[in-house]
């Protein structure tokens, strides 16, 4: 008798066999790229005007906020504007991943009920889509900072690991929120409040260095704080970010990804009967 192609057994400790899960996830990577591309095409982001809208939206937002800062804070300047725009762009990577991820599992209902596949592909695709939307804005910022006359330097290369950390964090929140949405389908309507809160709590409208020391200790609890602080230092100021900030950011990102993944995997078994 030949050996079975597939064996299904009860999960140990509520988790699927991880190595097998990872292998089948890796073998489905074409799904993730195909899905992201179809989704972007669907939202018309493959066309020139769609791309333009992607860039225009955060650009206009940054213009509005700049106006706000100048009126209430009095200080303007090229660095300030560059900081605001760059920070908003990275913030949008996280927030797009969050809003895209929230319905990723529940929207995949038909597929989940009909096909055996690692469900984690769905929130991963949401993060990939958010990243595809982020890339053109990065290019725009590079042109913009040249026009603004911001300093250039090799320290800007630090932004590459920071983008990676931001991606890990985005993936973590997408996985986490997509699981929560299975149990509370109205969670999406709370997201605008959440993202707005973090927008103001994070060093976007102000610079991290401008914060009072008392508030700074408090900001350790804001995962976006250290990510955005390091981001602005490297890509706007062309300075080396603080090692402690980078490590805090990495710890937050990995922590959220780990917790989100555990939560997702331990609940995944139920998805087909909960949808």
């Amino acid at each position: 008798m030949s050996t079975p192609l597939q064996v299904y057994e009860p999960f140990r400790a509520g988790l699927p066999p991880l190595r097998k899960y990872w292998r089948s996830l890796w073998s489905r990577r074409t799904f993730i790229s195909e899905y992201s591309r179809s989704e972007l095409r669907e939202q018309h982001f493959d066309s020139i005007f769609g791309q333009l809208w992607l860039i225009l939206n955060p650009l206009m937002l940054s213009a509005v906020y700049f106006l706000l800062i100048v009126i209430i804070g009095g200080s303007g300047g090229a660095i300030r504007y560059g900081h605001l725009t760059a920070s908003l762009f990275l913030f949008y990577l996280v927030s797009n991943s969050l809003t895209g991820g929230v319905k990723s599992v529940t929207a995949g209902q038909r597929l989940i009920l009909n096909t055996a596949f690692p469900r984690m592909m769905l929130p991963i695709s949401a993060t990939v889509i958010a990243f595809f939307k982020f890339m053109p804005t990065l290019l725009v910022f590079m042109i913009m900072r040249t026009v603004l006359g911001l300093p250039f330097g090799w320290e800007m290369l630090w932004s590459i690991p920071i983008i990676l950390i931001a991606l890990i964090f985005s993936l973590g929140v997408a996985i986490l929120i997509s699981t929560i949405n299975v149990y509370f389908r109205d969670i999406a309507s709370f997201l605008p409040y959440l993202t707005r809160t973090f927008l103001y709590l994070s060093p976007i409208l102000y610079e991290a260095s401008a914060l009072k020391p008392q508030l700074r200790t408090f900001e350790h609890f804001n995962p976006l704080f250290s990510i955005l602080e390091s981001w602005s230092l490297s890509i706007v100021h062309a300075e080396t970010p603080h090692l402690s900030s980078m490590l805090t950011a990495l710890a937050w990102a990995l922590g959220v990804l780990l917790i989100g993944t555990y939560f997702f995997l331990s609940r995944e078994r139920e998805f087909a009967v909960r949808l």
């Binding site: 299904y8 899960y21 074409t30 899905y35 596949f117």
Partner: protein
């Protein structure tokens, strides 16, 4: 989990295709169809139950061999769909073990159509990739799928514009065309118009072959009598009986106190 990845080994009649050993399935499901935080917060302190535990399958043992066409019958809620989903690997078992010796294609209640905003073509591609097929394999089958579904130009229209019959036709075409070793069809033969019913019925007959195992869930007894060479009867999560189609179906119909009424014979 690679339910559709191609296996090139040929199977002989009588070889084991699926082995279900002492399978039990229990799950918790939400009572609300769409549970919300708002509803939960409002009922806080009321002590109303939010979830229900379902014992879907109890100690089921079932072997399916290649060459067999197994019909699965039972009343609503007997656990037929749960059994199909566990065999397909969609829901892991709570107890027991399932061994599958071949590639599986499933056509369960809902059929294809992952994202209604995308075209039928994109959905077929995505569904195939999710099931573990490669892009090349999907390309090879795509024309055949499109032709069999008789959707014509509609294949490139968003699926939200499809009628339920068109959904069903595309779903059946995908499941039946990809040449699986094991095909599981769950109450999907009764959709579509008379013409397509006839066509899918013939396709199922055509798919019966020595090196393939078919598992059909249906309430259409006449169809099962005609197609199957084996029938399993589930009741309240337990396997009641299994064997010769006519005998089992007769017993089942007697159990339902319906006799050979035309109502159950007619629906395909």
């Amino acid at each position: 989990m690679s339910s559709l990845s191609a296996s090139n080994t040929s199977h002989k009649t009588g070889d084991l295709a699926v082995s279900v050993q002492d399978l039990s399935l229990t799950y918790t499901t939400a009572i609300d169809r769409r549970p919300t935080l708002k509803a939960r917060a409002k009922s806080l302190g009321r002590g109303t139950k939010q979830t229900r535990v379902v014992q879907a399958l109890e100690n089921v043992n079932l072997d399916v061999a290649y060459g067999q066409v197994l019909g699965v019958i039972g009343t609503n809620g007997a656990g037929k769909s749960s059994l199909m989903r566990t065999i397909a690997g969609i829901i892991p078992p709570s107890k027991g073990r399932i061994e599958v010796f071949g590639s599986v294609s499933t056509l369960l209640a809902l059929g294809v159509g992952f994202n209604p905003a995308m075209s039928g073509r994109a959905n077929v591609h995505l569904g195939g990739l999710a099931a573990g097929m490669t892009r090349k394999e999907i390309e090879e089958h795509f024309d055949e799928i499109a032709e069999f579904s008789e959707l014509g130009d509609a294949i490139d229209a968003p699926m939200r514009t499809y009628s339920s019959g068109m959904y069903a036709r595309l779903g059946f075409s995908v499941a039946a065309t990809v040449q699986p070793d094991i095909l599981i069809v769950d109450e999907a033969l009764s959709t579509g118009d008379a013409h397509f019913k006839e066509k899918s019925f013939n396709k199922i007959k055509e798919l019966r072959s020595e090196d393939r195992a078919l598992i059909l869930v249906s309430h259409a007894m006449a169809t099962l009598r005609e197609i199957c060479n084996d029938v399993a009867w589930l009741h309240k999560g337990k396997l009641v009986n299994r064997g010769n189609p006519n005998e089992i179906i007769d017993a089942y119909q007697e159990f339902l106190h319906l006799g050979k009424s035309s109502v159950i014979d007619e629906d395909l």
